[in-house]
Symmetry: C2
Subunit: 257 residues, 2 copies
């Protein structure tokens, strides 16, 4: 059978919740939700009208695909316990190679390149889905599955995927940490963080049509030494922020190693 | 007179162009545009149906406000040359104290907290405008001027403004540099930067309703040592990026000084 109808979700966290909801809303049957915590499994399975389990060995055998959406370092545990060697099994991690699944007959990757949070809906139709598979038939099944959710489906091999994941750490996780520092500076000075939000959104939107390299602005870009020195002085009470300021400034200035 | 109708723009760069267009579109008269390059002054003045000059000493004297929109380190030059001591004069810098204008009778700050680029329109109605003034009458004139452009007008003193500007360097300039690194990593591996854009936009949107501190995700947040070490290895050919990765990761991990 080339078409996926029934899905088992192995995991109940943010990725499982968002993918599960997207599949369910698109008309797929969520057959079962696994979590090592049966309460977590039940919490998600209720919303997805599926059954719940806390045992990999006792998973129902009649799903068309088993999607692992758990922390990277728990994938090996699932691989050890999973008994349906002839079933299509995929994981959703950005940094784990596909080879971790080679003991199975048909396997692959279904990596959604997005940041998922509990209380924030995501437009799944825009989310890039990175697909890789052990064989052409599984690849086509996963592409079809991806296209049923998103307009943004890509064939990406494991070497590319780990580079994308690394780039995403800078573009998402580190960017969010820059937001955190800016909020901290404002809060310490009794200024509402809201005042920065239009700037943050515009900074993200600007690169939609332009390379970020061409969009760089600020004191380091225009080599404004007075402002840079003043900022470093203002950060004297926080050596961590000061060090980050100096390092990134030095890089923008082009003082590379 | 309490109402501003005629405006002189001292400067012809991104801030002058965007503010000038916004004023013009709102019905203000742009009386004159100054630039040290007469060609640049003329280029902008044409769009704003105003005259142009390259001499501060020969500025027309009949404007209601003179808005300095030039590089921080050129403000002192304008202050030295400007002869209308009884006119309202303001600057638009995030980091220069209002006191630079004390030799005039009525002065202030009109600081738009946004990143302006040549080829990108900005929704001026959303841009926070930070106002400060030497006296209540000038303050009210600048507030009225601000409110005619934006829904987002704030009274901000010079001490707060320099903190906002510092926070903006992290939230905008350094964030954009994170985007630049991510683009570089992808380009080096022949992957289109477009694949990261939905993630970048979502990361910025997430903090609209949530503190970025609560939204932090990624390998450092979940202390995934295998992934972090692998990323550091992947960056072996770029010591700058490796150093940035290590420093920010260490901060997210909470290994502060």
């Amino acid at each position: 059978m080339n078409t996926i109808k029934k899905i088992t979700l192995i995991g109940s966290g943010n990725v499982a919740s968002h993918l599960g909801k997207a599949f369910f809303d698109t008309g797929f049957i969520i057959n079962e939700v696994y979590s090592k915590s049966i309460d977590n499994a039940k919490f998600l399975s209720k919303k997805l009208h599926s059954s719940a389990t806390d045992s990999i060995r006792n998973l129902k055998s009649d799903s068309d695909v088993y999607i692992i959406c758990i922390k990277d370092d728990s994938i090996n545990y699932v691989v050890k316990e999973f008994l349906f060697f002839d079933k299509l099994i995929v994981h959703t991690s950005g940094s784990v190679a596909m080879e971790v699944l080679t003991q199975f007959q048909n396997y692959g990757i279904f990596y959604p390149l997005q940041t998922f949070s509990k209380e924030k809906n995501v437009m799944i139709a825009e989310v890039p889905l990175c697909i890789e598979a052990s064989d052409k038939k599984s690849e086509q099944m996963l592409i079809n599955l991806g296209k049923s959710l998103s307009k943004n489906v890509h064939l990406i091999n494991s070497q590319q995927r780990e580079k994308i994941h690394l780039a995403a750490v800078f573009a998402c996780n580190f960017t969010n940490y820059m937001y955190t520092i800016s909020e901290d500076i404002l809060t310490q000075n009794n200024i509402d963080f809201d005042i920065l939000k239009p700037l943050i959104l515009e900074t993200a939107k600007k690169i939609n049509d332009n390379s970020p390299k061409a969009m760089q602005t600020g004191p380091a870009k225009r080599n404004d030494e007075v402002v840079m020195q003043h900022h470093i002085n203002l950060l004297a009470n926080n050596k961590d922020y000061q060090e980050i300021y100096q390092l990134i400034t030095s890089n923008i200035l082009g003082n590379s190693k």
